[in-house]
């Protein structure tokens, strides 16, 4: 029961984007379509699970004073793995996400999980926490990407359902802020 709660808390109640407003830069910058949003979410999920594993394994050996720099180096190593792996296997998506892949390093949500959860809990629950929060982040980015794609180009996952030009503003920068604003308002309403 406890582990199940631990897993699902990231979906809505503590959703990194909608509830905590963390990791906003990739959430707005990469969600021009549902596919891009999902790709970014999955890349971040991989980093957060792996860094949670390593941080929870080494938590007893790292002196308290240098813990933040060492977490950052751990996260940066996994980000480099994602960056190189994606450039090799998914070059088109890598091109689309561009700068935001190396910037997973400074995603406050990844460092936040390492510091707030993995450094205090066992390996098992850290993995579950990373997977749950990572899924919540992926869910948020996919939803944001889907709503921007539906409104902006009348399509979902690249399949167009109305053969017309959409409301372009939702693909451009202002639409990202406005769509996220309304999605957060909706989660606020649901949480009450």
């Amino acid at each position: 029961m406890d582990q199940a709660r631990n897993f699902t808390k990231g979906f809505i109640r503590e959703n990194p984007v909608f509830a905590l407003m963390l990791g906003l830069c990739p959430a707005l910058g990469t969600t021009t379509s549902a596919y891009n949003g999902m790709g970014m979410g999955l890349a971040t999920m991989f980093v957060v699970i792996m860094s949670n594993i390593v941080v929870s394994l080494i938590k007893n050996f790292v002196p308290n004073k240098v813990r933040i720099p060492s977490y950052i180096v751990i996260i940066a190593s996994f980000v480099t793995i994602v960056d190189l792996g994606m450039a090799g296997y998914l070059p088109a998506l890598h091109e689309q996400l561009g700068l935001f892949i190396p910037l997973i390093v400074v995603n406050c949500f990844v460092l936040g999980r390492a510091e707030a959860f993995a450094s205090k809990n066992t390996l098992g629950s850290s993995i579950i926490d990373g997977a749950g929060m990572g899924l919540g982040f992926t869910l948020a980015l996919t939803m944001l990407g889907a709503s921007r794609e539906i409104l902006g180009s009348y399509a979902l996952f690249g399949v167009q359902f109305i053969q017309e030009d959409g409301m372009l503003v939702f693909i451009l920068a202002p639409g990202a802020f406005i769509a996220l604003g309304y999605l957060i308002a909706m989660t606020n309403k649901l949480n009450k």
């Binding site: 180096v73 480099t80 910037l103 400074v106």
Partner: protein, 190 residues
Amino acid sequence: MEYIVIVLSAILVNNIVLAQFLGLCPFFGVSNKISTAAGMGGAVLFVMTVAAIVTYLISHYILVPLDLIYLRTVTYILVISSLVQMVEIILKKVSPPLYQALGIFLPLMTTNCAILGVAILVIQQEHTLMSGVVFAIAHSIGFTLALVLLSGMREQLDLLNVPKSMKGNPIILVAAGLLAMAFMGFAGIV
């Protein structure tokens, strides 16, 4: 001329916050008062410029000659976080008033993706050292401009009667969206 194009495009056309979505955490986090927004802007100007210079030198004189480009992300983030720490220590000794003014904002700088983002962009767009510095300064001015404008809007928003579920973050995001829309009007001037 080349520098004027860099400056105009960085501040108005490709504003780092409103068009490139970098540095959103401080953009929403410290924009509740104009004075704190300006303080944050000053801190960003300082750290971003120094970070761009240092990472440029490291990239050109260490990483590229030794063929270690894949270590870019790891080195840059380490350099930036130690730089932030160093700036904090130096400022504390040399200029206590400035340290007092920037105090809380300096540690936050490590996780400001605008700093790392600009450092990477300087290398990706193949700037020289001089144009890289201009690029970093212009981007931090653009950051400060967006931050101060949003904090001005937020001070007005506090006085309005907003629907219950739009209160707080949602209405701020929509306001930022309108600000971004206004900045889109600058597209095409350079």
